[in-house]
Each structure stands twice: as C-alpha cells, then as structure tokens.
Symmetry: C3
Subunit: 267 residues, 3 copies
C-alpha cells in the first residue's frame, strides 16, 4: 500500500468528519475522545440502555470496547450494536482483556455471535483467547509471541469480519487479503488506552471505505503518528509521549506521513 | 465589564476556596477535577444515590452534567439537587448532548422542572433543543449558527435561570441583563470536556456572587486562560493545549487577565 | 532507610513486573493506569461483580479505592478482596473521602472488618475519620494539621494493618516500626489522583516485600519522582507537573534517587 492511499483515506475521513459512537471502558474515555478530536472526527460516548440505540442510529460508526464491562453496559452494547447493524454502519469490537476472565471472553464471543461486526481489533493474546487457544495474559496490554498474521487470518475466517492483530508488527486480514503494518513505537505500550483509541481511529477509516486496506491505512497513520511522537519524547518518557501523540494525530500532514508509512501486502 | 471586576471575583473565589460537588460524565471527571484544582478551588465527585445528597450538603455549589447519564446517576442528581436547593447553594446544569437523544433532552427538562437551577451552561444546539427548536447535532461539541444572545435570553426567561450559551462568542442572560464574552480559542473545540470544566468554573464564581455578571466573569477568565494556552501551543496542537490550559488556569495573574478580558454588556 | 534499599526494592518490582488489580474511582482510572505503566508494572481494572474475583486471582496485588463508590462496585470490592485474601496477595485500601459522607466511612470500615487488609493509605483527615475522630474535610485531598505519625500508629494497631498517613511528611507504621518519609512536592496537591496512584505504587512494592519498610520505600520513590517533576515545572504549573510526574516515575534512575531519598525511622 502506498503512502498516497493512506493520505487520501485520511483526508476523506477529515472531510466527512464522521460521528463515532464509543461504548468504552472508564479508563480510556477521555483519551479516546481527545484522540478522535485531534485527528479531526467527532466522538460521542453514550453507555446507558435508555439511549445507546438512538445514539448509534445518529452515528457513522460504533465502537464496542469491553475494558471495564458491566451488566448495564453490555445491555447497551447489544442494543447499540443491533441499531448499528440495522442502519448499516460499521461496528468495531475491541475485546480488551479477553482471556483474562471468563466474563470478558464469553461477552466478546456472545457479541460476535449476535452482531454483524465489521472489525475486531485486538492484541495477539486477546484474539487467541477468542479463538480458544491457550495464552497467558499479563495485564491487558500484552502481546504474545505468536504470529499475528496467522492469528488474524484465522480470526477473520472464524468470525467473518476484518481482523486486526496489533503488536510490534500489525496484521490485518479479510477474505484472502493480508496487510502487514510496520509502523508504531515502543512507547505505545507505556500509555494506557493506545490500543482502544486505535480501534476508534480504525472505525473512522471504515466509515469512508469498508475494507481491510482501510483498516491497514488507519493503523499505518496511527503508527506513524506514534513514531513522530516517540522521536520527540524518547528522553522525556510516557507522560510527554501521550501528549505528543495527540499533537501528531492532529498535525500529521502529507509530507510527514509519506516519510513514515510502511505497509506491505502479503501475497 | 472591566477586567478589574473579573480579577476581583477570581481572587474572591480563590480566597474562599469553595468545594464544588460534580456529578458529571465519565469522559471528563479527571479533567474537571484537575481544572478546578488548577484554578484554586476544591472538586469533589460523588455519583451514588447513597451519598449524593450528603455530599451536596457539604459543598458550596453543585454541578450536574448529563454527558454519560444513566438511571442510578440521574437518581443521584435529583437527590443532590434537592439537597442543594434546601441548603441554598447554586445548582449548575450542563445538558451535554441535549437534542442528541430523547433520554438526554427529557432528563434535562425533568431536572429543570424539579430543581431550582441557578445556571444552565450549554452550546447553542443543546440550548435550542431544550427550548424545543430543531437543530442538528454533530457530536456533543457542536455549536449551531444561531444567535447565542437570542437563545440565552429565551432560555433564561423560559427556565427562570441564568443562561449561558457558549461558542465563538458567549452570551450570558438573566433578568434583562445580557453579557457578551469574546474570549476563547479555537483549540477549545479540539479537547474534550472544555465545556464541562467551564460549567464547573462558572459554579465556582457563583459561590461568591449570584449574578449573570459573575458567570460572564467566569467565562472571560476561562476564555482568557484558553487564549494564553493557545498562544503557547498553536504549533504543537490539542495535546499540548490541554496541558497549557491547566497551567494557565493556575497561573493567570492580574496582568495577564487585564490584557485579554473582553466582555461587553448589551444595552 | 538508605537510598540503596529503596532502589533495590524498585528494581525488584520492575524485574518481577507485578499485575496490579485496581478497583478504583472514575476520576483517576486513566492516571493510575498510566502511572503504573510508567513505573514499569502492569495495571488492570475490573469493577464488575461478574469478574472481580477472577481478576484478583490472576493479579499480584489488589487496590480498593472508594473515591466514587456505588453499590455494584462495593460488591465487586468484597468479592475481589475475599479472592485476594484466599490467594494471599496484598490488599491495599484507599479510603478516599472517608469522613465526607457516612456511606464512605461505613463502607471503608465494613471492608476493613471483612477483609484482611495489608495496607491502608490515606491522608490524616480520612484516617482520623476511620478512627472515629472528628475532622473537617475540604474536598478529598485535604490533610489535617494532626500528627501523621500518631495517627498512623493508632490506625495500624486498630486495623491490624500497615498504615500510611501521607501529607507534607508521610508516616508509615506497623508493629512497632515507624518510618517518616520527607519526600514529595507541593504540586502533588494540585493534581487529582496523586494519592490514589500512590496507593497503587505502594501495592506494587508490597508484592516484593510485605513490610512497613517497603511501603516507606514506595512513598520515598514516588515523592522523589514528584520532586524531580516539580523542579522541572514550577514555572509552568499543575498541567505540566502531571506529565513530568509520569516521566519521572518512568525514568528515575539510581543516581537521581540517591540524591533525593529522605526516609527516617523513628526510634
């Protein structure tokens, strides 16, 4: 994939300024909203069963994140998901901590069963847990040593969705296509919610093109922004990196992206 | 309104260090608390029906924000609001996303019906929704093209409260008085919760003087802090702006404010 | 206590990279997770009764923080606490706002009654409230003028736990031992959640050594990081301090700590 295609998709996202409805965990709500505002789209959060479906109907994409799930929120996720499917907008599932508890794994699998999910974005450990493979979980940010590409292909087949497995190298698979994204920065693992925000960034790209390529472009844009942020803050550390990541998502212009984007397509 | 009056009110707020009880949304709790601490007042958050009324009775003002409302929280809002009314402390309502879903609009209107609200702080779209006028909502941060002054006057009459409609220019109306505040910065629209924090800042000013003028002063102080923050971060972006806004709320001294404050009174 | 001992404990924590399960308030979830990631340990948040016990069993320590408690969360705290006791991992209680409402004081006391708590970390006003002494509360960040050492000793005896009372000077007491930690910075009082994060940092140290000395070491490390952050941001203010505190927790190396650590043991 050429940098030019990533840039065109980003510009299309910014021009249409989609409304992204996030039902997400309490740890990352603020960072997710700020990341989306920085990149140039509109976030909205609405968790209550009383309004989740109505909000989803007003949105251009729905992101479901189970990072601090509870009964009422899962109810809201279902209602919003059904409304999103009816409207035909993309639904993105971020199965945070799948494998860490039975409640998370089972909730994620039930949502995949009930809803038409466009994209699952997870790390290798979480995706393996959904596939029923064994894995150890260290916090929710861990990535296994497994082959991201293999896991993504298997998850895409099993759940009939685009599957993005992120880690040192990201893999995006769907219907025979596999993209490998080599962007990113190690400091992403030192800031909470960077994966959650990435899921919402990918949802934004899906509003302009429903394809594995659009997801790969989102990952490359995000990873490139992280590299720019990382180059500015290696000496300072994770606090400054978090701020510069927001700045980079906002400012990243064609010239910067051209320099960073590294996306390969597996043949 | 002269800069001197704004400064005197701010100094009075800082001297008395009011305790502001916030029942607010999960997206902005951290930013709201940090903003209040930075400006020199004491925030407290308490959302449970079991303690909301008792906490309100210990506070100097109550802020009700419906940004991620749910059944239990609305119950707590009612109980805290009644307790605040009994004690006679100001109640501020921030109807985040009114108009976006029926649940939000109806909850905001029900709270306005049941409680004696001192101030409603909203953008034009939200306030118009409360007034029953049509409007489109793009996220919760949108502001319509409507005349803020006209909307504020109408809302103040209808709800018998000070009404502050914020946007590029802010309007504050109550009982024949109308203030226009021309402070602010475009980067405020790129950081989530800047409106929510503003509602809590206005609540702080209401603890020292119950008037439309005190609210206008709060808006001018906040807008001036945003201008100072914006002047430091235009090149960096929204991440850095958010940090510098907290710094500016903390540090803004008489000399800086004098330079920025722009508040007119409509005749 | 020598700086060398603090450094050895910190290195041991970083080497073992414990998983810290936090059931905490909605204001500080993000800051707590980022602080723990910065210092080099793994945070996990899980509040639902459906999974709290299972998550605690997977963790190396459990932190219970009542800053925005509600019925469901208290249920989860109990279940997680019992599971943590069964597994034998340390349970840390942060009784945020005890004394501010009856619900908080009673919940904290009930948890202390039901669970085997390894450490209570609080400010003087909160700890005094648990001990039934009168005190005024200004927000949740206030510290009284009382003698922290005296309160810590009394709390340790009464609740049969390590007791850490933090303020300008921190006191840590347990079974005849009392440590006084003189590290810290005044800007810590201008950022929300700095006490909450400290409780989770202390939990991390308890995973490598169950002693009052390990808690004192955690407080000294954290206070030293705050001093480093404060020295970089006195002119900027609380916004920048918050970021530099995360940076300092990440970067603080042996040489820096050696220069700052000030821990005395009462004879």
């Amino acid at each position: 994939m050429k940098a030019k295609e990533v840039i065109q998709l980003l510009e299309e996202v910014r021009k249409t300024r989609p409304l992204i409805h996030n039902i997400t965990n309490t740890v990352v709500t603020n960072f997710t909203a700020n990341g989306l505002l920085s990149m140039g789209v509109s976030p909205v959060m609405a968790n209550a069963p009383e309004e989740a479906a109505e909000m989803a109907k007003a949105a251009n994409a729905l992101v479901i994140n189970i990072g601090t799930l509870n009964r009422e929120q899962v109810k809201a996720m279902r209602m919003a998901g059904i409304a999103a499917n009816e409207k035909g907008i993309p639904v993105v599932l971020d199965p945070v901590g799948a494998g860490a508890t039975a409640y998370r794994t089972e909730t994620a699998l039930a949502l995949l069963e009930e809803l038409d999910v466009a994209l699952i974005r997870a790390n290798a450990g979480e995706m393996a847990a959904l596939l029923g493979e064994s894995g150890t979980v260290q916090g929710v940010d861990a990535s296994g040593e497994a082959d991201n590409s293999k896991i993504a292909k298997e998850a895409s087949r099993r759940f009939e969705a685009i599957a993005a497995v992120t880690g040192v190298e990201d893999a995006v698979a769907h219907q025979g296509e596999v993209f490998i994204v080599q962007n990113g920065h190690t400091l992403l693992t030192k800031v909470t919610g960077t994966g959650c925000l990435l899921s919402s960034v990918a949802a934004s790209f899906l509003t302009v093109q429903h394809s594995a390529g659009a997801v790969a472009a989102a990952l490359a844009y995000y990873g490139a922004a992280a590299e720019i942020a990382g180059s500015l803050t290696t000496r300072e550390g994770p606090g400054s990196f978090q701020i510069e990541l927001l700045n980079a998502l906002h400012a990243t212009q064609e010239m910067d992206l051209r320099h960073y984007i590294r996306v390969k397509q597996e043949s």
